[in-house]
Symmetry: C2
Subunit: 449 residues, 2 copies
């Protein structure tokens, strides 16, 4: 039942564009869902994509443009006149239109806005541009259904039908007083079953969750998820109803947040996609690699200072990559669990208990791993004291790595810094140096070189 | 405006439970949102939580129980009789009730179901238990608004009002024929504005997205996100309407998927939370650590076989943790970008171009890093040929690491294996051995030991 973009259809479309056969092209595309139009716009080259956008009516292409990757959308918009862009924006919800317009150059923004025919819509978009992208104001749309507490049920029904024309999905009906201050919400069921001479003030529900225009996106996502809301009204500093945020915008937001944490753990510092330019990818990746390099050079330095062990206990040097790797692995595991616990707000109990648990856990893992190291020593005929020293150092190193991995993200979070930064290269690098130092320190104490 | 669980309130609640002062306890809790009740149930000990669940009516606690972590919920349910559990389930939507019942032992499941007073509800739940947890059947709820194409608008309105009683959120009205086969959907706006003598068959929209009970969860999430759906109907093999999935269930699903990838990258193989038992955490973490250990032991073996270099080029051994770490970091970066591209279905273009781009990118990074190594060598007074050899080996090693990181997830994905498994410890471990081997091989060739 789902649309599948076949190679034949794609070839057909390319052929029709080259031929300039607009009539048949329209015939092929007019029934296609906007999400599938978006897929086609991604698969053909930019010139052809621009051609399609110009050909189809804006109702169909506005939504498709919203689905595109930012890079591709920008390049298509470059091929359109300010008037053509304005036509697309007229068809979009205010929040989407504001997102797109903010990607344009400041000069082009002015030209496009002055070409918009719907004054009110343009006004709304300009208002949204004022808010920080990551705040409730930046996430909200102006489209919503609003009724006054003073209206009668009959008057309300007529007014609502009019408003609903501009709102894709109704979700909730918000009740305001005559100063536009948010008073509560109205259930459609109550409205349908109320006597027609009743007033809205008799039937509305005076309790409603809401956020302020300045509430951060993370907080909006948390509230909407916690209370299972599909839409939440947004008020300004005077408690006036100015917009609403719907769950589909928050889904995108939640996904982006999760992806950011993931990229951070992998040592990628900007939100880049596989198809970003080499330059952007370098900027996102190189800084972490340099950090890792410094960690490695630090380890070189530590080993140099223990080179007196080379004559009698050269095996120790063969084990340094193992020690560094295990310290890194354990550190990343511990910090990932904490980062996720913080993100989901389900980290309960005292810090001390958490550290104690982490030590217990790592002790179990460390004894298992240490046993394997001793078995390996027996197999390759390594002196038993050396094997035992390595196993004991490994155990110590990973316990400390687990503590650092647990402690650092919690501290960062308390300081208001994104704890995800503590995962990945940061933890592995610091644990590299630290781990190797502890390893040689313990070895020297036991073996006495 | 948001509820904040204060320590005072919590102490008050604990005190009232100890006193057995049910009357005042009810007074404090009756107005509290179920999501906040859930927070209280998490903060107090299990006995007190069970006490609260028994005291409050099931309408309030059923939703709160759904919000809890699985472990805590299980322990609270252990304190309830089958009859009490059945009362909770009566208040839940079928999909939630089925999820909870599937967590119980088989014997208890039977007892609970036989205690349920609402036959139809119990029937629906039993039906849902048959489906795989990760399929559309396992995700769907039976609650929905269904109208027949043969009804009149007036009859439909009356019937709908009745059905809507059992459905928390209406979302969409689905139209079926007299064999319950899905025909399309009905817009509330069209229903409100249609003449009352019209038939549903005249006004419904015959096109509707749907999924089959066996469609996988990932695919449902993909379709709902792509087409921005808030609910999607589910049909059986005979195209009969059997349920619907709403976006809030999919939000949880998307989040879990993203978290699974993240945990995989961090070397945690099961979906565990920070508060899981030590035993579960060990099971999730130890296997990856053992994998890492084998990587490290492999590296020991490689270095042993190059020990003839110890006499003249001992510096090489100091650099092995650095080489291993860089190979790991680059490999994880490359694979993370691919895994995310695959998950979001935005990996376009040929494999060859992708590998070429990755090589170009890593060449830039490698030259920058190599230069730093040479500068470090100058500072510490290392023989220049050795520094140059290390820099060149580093460059080679990370290019190969980048290729492995790019290639492996793509191959796994083509084989139908979750590519996320290729990130984290898997990549770092294989790159450890590989990297160190290449490092010594190149060094031997240039330096000739």
């Amino acid at each position: 039942m789902q649309f599948q973009l076949s190679d034949e259809l794609l070839d057909k479309i390319k052929f029709l564009i080259d031929e300039g056969n607009d009539e048949e092209l329209l015939l092929h595309l007019e029934e296609v869902h906007h999400a599938d139009i978006a897929e086609i716009l991604t698969e053909v080259d930019v010139e052809k994509a621009t051609y399609i956008v110009k050909l189809l009516n804006s109702q169909q292409t506005a939504e498709a443009l919203m689905e595109l990757e930012e890079d591709r959308r920008e390049r298509i918009l470059e091929g359109l006149s300010p008037k053509e862009i304005a036509e697309e924006l007229n068809e979009m919800d205010t929040d989407d239109a504001a997102d797109i317009i903010s990607e344009l150059s400041l000069e082009l923004q002015q030209d496009v806005i002055s070409e918009m025919t719907d004054e009110q819509h343009a006004d709304d978009i300009v208002e949204l541009l004022r808010y920080d992208e990551n705040s409730a104001g930046g996430l909200m749309a102006k489209e919503l259904v609003r009724v006054s507490e003073n209206w009668s049920v009959t008057g309300c029904m007529a007014e609502m039908r009019k408003q609903a024309e501009n709102v894709t999905r109704v979700h909730s009906i918000y009740v305001v007083d005559d100063k536009n201050k948010l008073k509560g919400r109205l259930s459609l069921k109550d409205l349908l079953t109320a006597p027609s001479n009743a007033n809205i003030s008799d039937i509305y529900i005076p309790a409603v969750d809401y956020v302020n225009v300045h509430t951060e996106g993370e907080e909006v996502a948390r509230i909407m998820q916690k209370y299972d809301l599909e839409a939440i009204p947004v008020v300004d500093e005077m408690n006036r109803l100015v917009g609403r945020i719907t769950i589909d915008d928050i889904v995108d937001f939640i996904k982006e947040e999760a992806e950011k944490d993931y990229q951070m753990a992998a040592g990628i510092s900007e939100d880049v996609e596989a198809d970003a330019s080499i330059w952007r990818l370098t900027r996102a990746r190189l800084p972490w690699l340099i950090l890792g390099l410094f960690g490695g050079l630090g380890a070189v330095y530590v080993m140099k200072s223990y080179d007196e062990a080379l004559s009698d206990f050269v095996e120790l040097f063969f084990f340094t990559p193992l020690i560094a790797a295990m310290a890194g692995n354990v550190g990343v595991q511990s910090s990932a669990i904490i980062v996720q616990g913080l993100a989901n707000d389900n980290l309960k109990g005292s810090l001390f208990n958490r550290l104690l648990k982490e030590v217990g856990l790592t002790l179990i893992n460390g004894i298992a791993l240490g046993t394997l190291v001793i078995i390996f020593g027996l197999i390759v005929g390594q002196p038993q004291l050396v094997s035992f020293t390595i196993a004991l150092s490994l155990l110590t190193v990973i316990i400390i790595a687990a503590l650092i991995g647990t402690f650092v993200p919690i501290i960062l979070d308390k300081q208001g810094i994104d704890p995800a930064i503590a995962t990945g290269p940061f933890i592995t690098t610091s644990n590299d140096i630290f781990g190797i130092f502890i390893f040689f320190y313990i070895s020297k104490t036991i073996l006495g070189f």
